[in-house]
Subunit: 326 residues, 2 copies
């Protein structure tokens, strides 16, 4: 049970807020931040949103007034210290804000977390949300609904829709409850266009990204059980297609679209080593698999980075280890 | 306004029903058919489902009792004639049932159409539905809700969820209204698992299909405006990957995921000619483009078949024609 009355009280009793989210923010990170920003703005508060990462180009439509700033230690140090409340949204561990971590840890005011991930770091004065939520944006929705702190208008609805739609995988992941659909009905009722939001977030790939996906899919192999599929992306592929590391995001999921496949693996060549991404279906815990190699992540999505080695060196070993999790 | 009371009356006043749907049935076709079948079954009616096409393997989970039969003119002719009511679901033109067309046209009993496409052929005694519906399954839902003809149970809910989820593109196409989400909330409340349905329908691709997608994506080109993307699938690609024509379904949509692209074109090599698929965004009417070459389809999804020609022969002409629709 969330004590949203306390969150409302925190807002009422303070005047200046600093909001931030995790590195490489997704639509739930940006949507939750700007959704919360819009609540505070309606209440006449002083607010800054400062992130470690720039907003990805496909999410810029969520920030038409360009209120999100990219952290710069020199210019932003005083801003951080002048704020009374530091709110982290869609993350729960200090190191997930990267270059802002020191500023956060040394912050003297109130530290608030609004998030739906597990294993919250014991560093916050207040934590709102919980793993029962499909998205951080759903927490913001509940907060508004329960406290009626502001009216839910089209601008806020757009942010929350974007966050929930993406974090539920278009309403198909586990925590997609009847309630999620009721909330979506209400948000669409505020004038949000699902076609438009989907197009803006997902159908804005660079040409090179689609070519690179073609190359990556051409490399897919199955292990002898047919339950593991793996793909390879090399530096050469990136050079040939003009794509970048961020473009590879999501490729590994294609492994799981093959009948019978329960674990998908992407081997990605770095300048000085390799990155390996794991995805799994159902109960298969690839976070434990990643942990064997000092990586980490979620039950069904995890990864590792290995330095001074090559894909050829480790591929067989990784696939053998993965088999133990089938 | 649908006169669902009439549909209820038709059911009450007749005893034997024959249901069918269009060639290459999708989840809305199968889900609507079996959903309607389950209603009739609860009411103790005699029902057969006979389709021109076999049920695609990824939709077999919708028919665990294997009630759907594949049409065989020799064995089924008497079955057809013994039925009192012939119901076509998710199509509205006689030729869309292919080998069953003659049996349908010469059918002496009541001809009923339940569908959400435009341009209904003037051949039915009764038509229910309309283009305001996102899916034929939504019509079935409305029919149950309005007439309370049977109780909506888990089995029916599963069929309707599959139909609506797929025909709305996971709740992103134009006709995804707040009401759709309210319906989804109710269907999930009957125990439907969105994760499970999505996995069964979409994540069951043959290995060769994923390889073929890789080949196809590698061929993508942009026209000089950057607004048209086109891809090519040759017979050789199919042979090399072990994929089939049905596996190419959906490939053309990848063209529209590229930033700036408004028309996507797939050139597909047939034994004796070529197939061309068009997809577009928003107001761009590719059905008119297809019509120029004697093809047809919907505003945003259409296609043509050309015989005794090659992709090289027509490619430039097709792209030039497409440019006029930008």
């Amino acid at each position: 049970m969330n004590d949203f009355a306390s969150l409302k009280k925190i807002i009422e009793e303070h005047n200046s807020f600093l909001l931030s989210t995790h590195v490489n923010p997704d639509a739930d990170a940006i949507g939750s931040e700007i959704g919360f920003y819009l609540i505070l703005k309606k209440l006449g508060k002083k607010i800054r949103i400062i992130n470690h990462s720039a907003t990805p180009y496909n999410l810029e439509f969520l920030d038409p007034e360009k209120v999100v700033e990219k952290f710069d230690e020199n210019t932003h140090s005083s801003t951080v210290n002048e704020s009374e409340v530091f709110v982290l949204l869609d993350l729960n561990q200090g190191n997930r804000i990267a270059s802002m971590e020191n500023a956060f840890r040394s912050f003297k005011g109130l530290k608030v977390c609004i998030d739906h991930h597990q294993d919250t770091e014991n560093v916050f004065d207040y934590v709102f949300g919980g793993t029962q939520y499909s998205a951080t944006a759903e927490i913001i929705y509940d907060f508004i609904e329960e406290t009626k702190i502001v009216e839910l208008d089209h601008s806020i609805a757009l942010q929350l829709y974007a966050g929930i739609m993406t974090d539920t995988g278009s309403f198909r992941f586990d925590r997609t409850s009847p309630r999620i659909h009721h909330i979506m009905a209400e948000l669409l009722g505020k004038g949000v266009s699902p076609t438009d939001v989907y197009d803006k977030i997902y159908d804005q790939f660079k040409f090179g990204r689609v070519k690179l996906l073609g190359e990556a899919l051409s490399t897919i192999q199955l292990d002898d059980s047919g339950n593991i599929a793996y793909m390879i992306v090399t530096k050469k592929d990136l050079d040939n297609t003009g794509a970048s590391e961020a473009d590879v995001d999501g490729f590994v999921n294609y492994c799981l679209t093959i009948r019978g496949v329960k674990i998908g693996i992407l081997f990605y060549e770095l300048k000085d080593g390799i990155k390996i991404s794991f995805r799994s279906k159902g109960e298969i815990q690839v976070n434990k698999l990643a942990k064997e190699f000092k990586g980490g992540g979620h039950t069904n999505a995890s990864g590792i980075r290995l330095f001074n080695t090559t894909i050829d060196d480790v591929k067989d070993q990784i696939i053998s280890a993965a088999k133990r999790y089938l």
